[in-house]
């Protein structure tokens, strides 16, 4: 498959999100597929932002292994990412402001400095001085040439983006784009083959936007949230479109309020949803149990981020499985489901509302930062406007002669037809205490162990019936595989490609992706795993929560676990290598690699010296009185490249031992 990966790096506030969005939309309109991964450190101005857009002629499921074109919007980006550009690639930056030392780039990489002042001189004469973010548009133009995307669709998207600001602004931006394009054409060669564009335009969207859109299609009427990254963009979409969609949005004073309001709306009879991150979900848990015992339909999206506590607010992780599974005291029916990609996210929300209504239970949809916030092109067909809405068994009228209405009637299915408040002759209390069929409490004044037993069984019967209609997980890939990769959530996207890479080199690999967590297809999973040769779990957490959960449900443990918990998703090649290492029984090491040492040095220098220094040459040293081998890292001045001291980082612990900056001019004074 033909593909190209473009990286854009700069400081938060440099406007690279917009540039990335423009680039992706253009590719989307050309009929190409895009997967964008934004590994930002901060949503606050100043932090380093690194956006990777992988563009393919066919569907791409992750941000990939390569970097072919680099747009550097600051010096830091050049130093950090220029060495990653593959041979045959290109590095683009504003030559008026930044430099790229040729030694940074691999052999065969084109360094294309753009003399922005010079090439935009004519435009400046007509439109006046450029603002800094306009360098981005020139750089985009250059990359369109390098990647052979042409100017036609680019001009369309730029026009759509700026037309509300008037024709003059459109002309300026199209002009900037052309400047970059023509300059690149005059100075360099394309880095890709020619594409055969299909021009099948695809929406370019995020998981959170899909959750919101799906909720609208599913007839959600009430949405509540408390701001929390990485769930907030659902709130933003809901608020921005509330008057059009008719979804009433209520920001709560805290997540306790959010969950309780959502349940309140569910009690009143509207389809209600809320969303939060792991920390907010922790506050919601008592109320989720209440929705369970009251048998109230509602949907909660739990977006996982790095934990525990405040953890890594802007990084991805899959470590909330046990929190969601263990939410609330006691036992109650509910559905926990983890969608694995964008199209599945849409379907999952639509289904979630139907299951919630039909089984009168809370549904938690487990997302993760990567699924919620990454951008991807998705086929339009994945987002049908008209979806099945099944509100379940609702009592619309109850003639008096029918006698007493029992809200919690003991039925075979466990589902008791629900009358909504306002209906005549069906009055009842929604009780958080356990209760009998008529919702009279059974713990204080009246006690009855058999009634408690029967109401518990009634509620839990719903789980058996629900499980029967959930699609069981299936193996993907060759049936006679040597290794089965077990995963869940958005990690599926990279596992899928790692499996393809493994199969291509003769390691027969298949995948078991778990979507429905509770109730769980224990029988089916047991059948699959008991036949699998080698089983390896792949999760973004430290303790292999899904693997532990599967073992608790099936008695089957994994042969090996692959875990990542540094806030970043895997890339396919990295993952494939880890799998190969596990299969070769290579002893696993947690040692600091050379690349890690460099990042640790960057972190130290940034937090202690601002942008003045950067790490230079790195060599490993033997045990030297520090109790462990160390990485010796030379420090260099950014501006001059002059050696400016050194630091040592422990090979095992990652400790920063010695930092000697004697050679630094300011330290001499």
């Amino acid at each position: 498959m033909q593909e190209v990966t473009i990286g854009i790096g700069g400081a938060a506030g440099d406007g690279l999100d917009k540039s990335g969005d423009t680039l992706a939309k253009i590719c989307g309109r050309l009929g190409l597929h895009v997967y964008a991964y934004n590994s930002y450190q901060s949503i606050i101005r100043g932090g380093h932002i690194w956006l990777k857009l992988r563009v393919g002629a066919e569907k791409v499921h992750n941000h990939g292994d390569q970097l072919n074109a680099l747009i550097a919007l600051n010096q830091d980006t050049i130093e950090r990412h220029a060495p990653e550009v593959e041979a045959g690639g290109v590095i683009v930056f504003n030559a008026d402001k930044f430099k790229c030392d040729p030694s940074l780039a691999k052999k065969g990489v084109t360094i294309l400095p753009l003399p922005i002042g010079q090439i935009t001189a004519e435009l400046v004469k007509e439109h006046g001085a450029l603002i800094p973010v306009m360098q981005n548009t020139v750089a985009l133009g250059a990359v369109f040439y390098s990647c052979q995307f042409g100017l036609e669709k680019a001009t369309d998207v730029i026009t759509d983006t700026f037309k509300h600001k008037g024709q003059k602004v459109v002309d300026l931006n199209v002009g900037l784009l052309k400047c970059g394009y023509e300059y690149a054409a005059s100075q360099s060669k394309p880095i890709t083959k020619e594409w055969s564009f299909t021009y099948k335009a695809r929406p370019f969207t995020t998981g959170n936007e899909v959750f919101a859109l799906a909720a609208y299609a599913a007839g959600c009427k009430f949405y509540s949230a408390y701001p929390m990254t990485p769930a907030s963009t659902i709130l933003h979409w809901m608020c921005a479109n509330s008057q059009k969609t008719g979804i009433l949005v209520k920001q709560g004073e805290d997540e306790l309020a959010v969950m309780n309001m959502t349940i309140g709306a569910g009690i009143a009879g509207v389809r209600a949803m809320c969303a939060t991150a792991g920390g907010g979900y922790a506050l919601m848990t008592e109320a989720i149990g209440m929705a369970g015992i009251m048998e109230i339909p509602m949907v909660c999206v739990e977006v996982q981020r790095g934990g525990p506590s405040t953890g890594l607010p802007t990084k991805t992780e899959q470590a909330d499985l046990f929190q969601v599974y263990g939410a609330s005291q006691g036992e109650y029916p509910r559905l926990i489901v983890a969608p694995y990609d964008m199209a599945d996210a849409y379907k999952t929300i639509v289904d979630a509302f139907n299951y919630a209504d039909r089984y009168q239970m809370p549904v938690t949809v487990m997302s993760d930062l990567l699924l919620s916030e990454h951008h991807e092109t998705v086929d339009r067909e994945a987002f049908p406007a008209e979806v099945k809405i099944d509100r379940g068994e609702i009592v619309n009228s109850w003639p008096e002669e029918k006698g007493k209405y029992k809200r919690f009637a003991f039925t075979e299915s466990g589902i008791s037809p629900r009358a909504l408040p306002g209906t005549a002759n069906t009055l009842y209390v929604n009780p958080s205490d356990d209760h009998d069929e008529e919702s009279i409490l059974i713990s204080d004044m009246f006690t009855s162990p058999p009634v408690r037993r029967k109401i518990m069984e009634k509620r839990m019967r719903k789980m058996e019936n629900l499980l029967k209609e959930l699609t069981p997980p299936e193996l993907e890939g060759p049936k006679d595989a040597d290794v089965t990769l077990v995963t869940w959530g958005s990690t599926y996207g990279v596992v899928k490609e790692a499996a393809e890479q493994l199969n291509a080199v003769g390691v027969k690999t298949n995948i078991l992706c778990i979507k429905y967590i509770y109730p769980f297809h224990a029988k089916e999973v047991n059948e699959i795993l008991s036949k699998a040769k080698k089983k390896i779990s792949v999760e973004l957490n430290f303790t292999s929560q899904m693997a532990r959960y599967i073992r608790s449900e099936t008695g089957i443990g994994m042969d090996a676990h692959v875990n990542r918990y540094d806030g970043e998703p895997y890339t396919p090649a990295e993952l494939a290598q880890e799998i190969k290492d596990k299969l070769a029984k290579k002893p696993s090491t947690l040692d600091v690699t050379e690349a890690d040492a460099k990042e640790i040095a960057y972190h130290y220098l940034r937090t202690h010296n601002g942008e003045k220094l950067r790490p230079g040459k790195i060599v490993q040293e033997s045990v030297n009185g520090l109790g462990e081998p160390t990485w010796y890292i030379e420090l260099a001045e950014r501006a001059t490249g002059k050696k400016s001291g050194y630091m040592k980082v422990g090979l095992r612990t990652g400790a920063t031992y010695t930092v000697d900056r004697e050679a630094e001019p300011s330290a001499k004074k």
Binding site: S242, L256, I267, A268, S432
Partner: protein
């Protein structure tokens, strides 16, 4: 204004009789809620009583209406969601001082500043009764309870719910006493008829665990503001009254003002109760959302 057809008390007779201790102040509050609903002609099917957890929060089980017996401290957000989803129901929140002024006070503050159109009746007995007698947020300073033993007694200054309500934006603030049944019914009816957030703090003595704030304690001290021609429309005068806790303690409407409600501001509700609005997706709008992503 539509003619009100008053309904008899037994309209609201609940499925089970209350399990409160004999002599508990909450009996009087239950009766007054029923009388007030009857006076306003609210049909049981159109009445939603939401409570938290505590002795007084058992009230929804003792009245013929729709009810939610929710979590400790969470009656207000549950009621907020239920009310916003169905504004055709008259929503009344009931509970105790621990539920409302302790664990749930965060929600109370925000519900009041929203001026949500609901009525909140707090059966204030200045003690945790259901858990057998610990200090509550309204227990008097120095009072000895199970959780504030001698020699210290209660070291904390009690919350002043009336002053809190006035400063937070409640638009109807009143105090009742279950020993003054007629006044209490009148205050609850006024609160329910009021457009906006109404808080009615009710002295509802706990005969088992609070031997300080007893019926006789209040009977010796309370007086009715209406007897003195008090005008509750002035913020500063009302704040002064809210702090009156001496040999004389005022009962009646402490503060009343007309302000737009949260519901008035929410344009979506102009089309009627949310639960009655169509759920069908607007295909043209949906397509526009998708088109915007391309």
């Amino acid at each position: 204004m539509a003619t009100v057809i008053e309904l008899p008390l037994d309209t609201y007779k609940g499925p089970v009789s209350p399990d409160w201790c004999p002599g508990c102040g909450d009996y009087g509050v239950l009766r007054s809620v029923q009388e007030a609903a009857g006076k306003l002609g609210i049909l049981p099917k159109d009445l939603l009583i939401v409570s938290g957890i505590g002795c007084s929060s058992n009230l929804p089980g003792f009245i013929h209406a729709y009810g939610v017996h929710s979590l400790h401290g969470r009656s207000i957000p549950v009621a907020t969601g239920a009310h916003l989803a169905n504004t055709d129901m008259k929503t009344v929140i009931t509970g105790g001082d621990g539920d409302g002024y302790g664990i749930g006070v965060g929600h109370l503050i925000h519900a009041m500043r929203r001026n949500l159109d609901v009525t909140y009746i707090v059966m204030d007995n200045q003690i945790y009764g259901l858990t057998t007698g610990q200090a509550s947020p309204t227990t008097s300073k120095g009072q000895v309870t199970k959780s504030t033993p001698a020699p210290n007694g209660n070291l904390e200054t009690p919350i002043n719910p009336l002053a809190l309500a006035i400063t937070c934006g409640a638009t109807f603030v009143a105090r009742g006493f279950s020993g003054e049944a007629k006044l209490l019914t009148d205050l609850i009816a006024q609160g329910m008829a009021h457009k906006g957030f109404s808080l009615i703090d009710v002295f509802s003595p706990c005969v088992t665990y609070n031997k300080v704030n007893t019926y006789s304690f209040f009977k010796e001290r309370v007086y009715k503001l209406e007897d003195e021609g008090f005008d509750p429309s002035d913020f500063h005068r009302s704040m002064t009254k809210a702090y009156e806790w001496t040999e004389r303690i005022p009962l009646g409407v402490i503060y009343k003002t007309e302000q737009p409600t949260y519901e008035d501001g929410e344009a979506i509700l102009k089309k009627g109760a949310l639960v009655k609005q169509p759920t069908k997706v607007d295909k043209a709008l949906f397509d526009k959302f998708v088109e915007h992503m391309v």
